[in-house]
Amino acid sequence: MKRSNSMRLISTWIIACALVFLTSCKVQKEGLVVMTDESYKAVLFANNNKIKFGSPDGIVWHKGKLYFADEGGVALESWTKQDGLKTLIDSRFGTESPEDLVIDSQDNIFFTDDDAGGLWEFTANGTPRLVAGKDKGLISTEGIALAPDGSLLVGDGEQHEVFRVTRDGQVSEFLGKEYGITKPESMVFDDRGNLYIADNEDDVLYLLDGEKKLHRVVDRKDSFSPETIFYAKGSLYITDSHNNKLYVYTPNEELKTIAAFGGQLKNVQGVTLDDQGNIYLSIQTDLKRKVGAIIEISKENSEIAKK
């Protein structure tokens, strides 16, 4: 009887200690950034305490403002240090899950929505509008790119196609199913007019050249799954939400990992660069609970001084 009581006491004590350990360490809140390229440093630029966003997916720096396609907050938002966070479009206008965005030189903002579908615009004079909706065949819009002729290319994850959408809402097929792209999650043009396409279902990074020939640029199913791509100064920056990494790809060079992410920072989504060349990443820690963060990755001071 005595032995039984003491065993019960020991068991209770062990379980209590384990619970105290788990709760006091706040283990659920841990997050890591491993800099595999040591010339960079990482800073937590924003989280839900610093900026009251939901959980952003696509992000873009444009003329000193940071724009969010806030999937968790169901809104299109902009942020500056002086003015703070401003909501430009929210769910009242019909958006459900803002995914990716681009901004043209006239400051018109275009974004996609993988739940509501369609291509959406917030014009430079502050008017929201649906450029083309589900009725025109844009069912689940993902990646978006601004074509040199001013039209917009929009990837559709359910129809496995890329569509061209003109500013007045005309939709036509740009890349049909025969190209074999399963989920055009993100798209961007380089400075030579080639279009990079990230397919995060087949885990391939494609390049569509000027003659409309599709090339498999990176195809490593076991260790690479491109989520968002952003082209700047001759390099393509790629996030990978399956393998929790940030890469940089320069044509004719190896794919290089800049950083790997763990814990609550592991779900890396959007990527953009500011005018100084600093990299910004959106992290979706918990989309349902609207928990997210923005991480800034920049060169160490010594590197900038060297440059």
Binding site: S11, V33, K41, A42, L44, K256, T257
Partner: protein
């Protein structure tokens, strides 16, 4: 109030001392690596080769299973070993859950620049100046790490699942047979776990935590199952004697899996999960 402050400062200094001790111990043990190719290759062989690493534990398990001198003795041993196996599965589940929750990278990863989220900022972690073993596998892994190839599994090394699993199995063997248990425990500590620390794959703290989980769960599960499900265990152990050919085949499969750290079972579970995703949830 005063006592709370004193207690917290004592706790803080205790944690700092323990962390310091952990680092020193690791660096001392890891200091053996990177000096001799032959030594490092030998350590790596026993660390990475399933037969060399865990074959001894599997042999001890089989010897304990068949080693009873009387029918009663064999039944008692088999009951202990069956419960030991159940405990080992629970231990590996616990260590896996903990290592996916607590993000403490392997020491070899900690030799790189790492930022840790603390409140509203990223703080650079102290670097661990570990030595890289000279064997081919370690060198290849280090080159991959320098090139940015970080495995997700390498970001959560606390607690050590190797320590948890092998200590749980060895404790089960020790409860069934002291002599065989000591061989299994000795092999686990001196060969398997020491190799992990020499190769900077785990710190002494990871190992101690894994061992702590194993000791706690083996104690609780042995006690609980033998108290509450004694009649079931009697029946099961009796069946292994009645159907000795079939039970021998099953025990061989179990010992084989123990020797390969359940890698095949894990692959099978992975296949089941994939089937569930593809067939039941209709994902292509």
């Amino acid at each position: 109030m005063v006592s709370a402050v004193v207690l917290s400062s004592i706790l803080a200094s205790l944690i700092t001392t323990l962390a310091d001790l952990n680092d020193r111990l690791l660096l001392g043990i890891n200091g053996l690596a990177g000096r001799s190719w032959l030594f490092d290759s030998t350590v790596a062989f026993f660390r990475d080769n399933d037969l060399a690493k865990a074959g001894v534990i599997g042999c001890c398990f089989l010897a304990a299973w068949y080693g009873g001198k009387t029918t009663n003795g064999t039944t008692t041993r088999r009951k202990i070993l069956i419960v030991g196996l159940i405990a080992a599965v629970c231990v590996i589940a616990t260590t896996k859950v903990l290592s996916h929750t607590i993000f403490l990278p392997r020491p070899e990863i900690q030799s790189r620049k790492i930022y840790r989220l603390e409140g509203d900022q990223l703080v650079e972690m102290k670097r661990m100046p570990v030595r890289v073993p000279l064997d081919e596998t370690s060198q290849k892994e280090y080159r991959a790490l320098v090139n940015g190839d970080v495995e997700t599994n390498d970001l959560g090394s606390f607690p050590s699942d190797h320590a948890g699993f092998f200590i749980a199995i060895s404790l089960g063997i020790w409860l069934a047979s002291r002599r065989l248990g000591l061989i299994a425990l000795g092999w686990t500590i001196l060969v398997i776990l020491m190799g992990k620390m020499i190769g900077a794959q785990h710190t002494p703290l990871d190992i101690a935590a894994g061992a702590g989980v194993a000791i706690a769960e083996v104690t609780i599960i042995q006690y609980a199952l033998r108290k509450r499900f004694s009649s079931w265990l009697d029946k099961l152990a009796g069946l292994t004697l009645s159907y000795s050919a079939l039970s021998s085949a099953l025990v061989f499969a179990v010992a084989f899996e123990v020797s390969s750290t359940m890698i095949h079972v894990r692959a099978f579970l992975g296949l089941l999960a994939a089937m569930r995703r593809h067939v039941l949830l209709g994902m292509s």
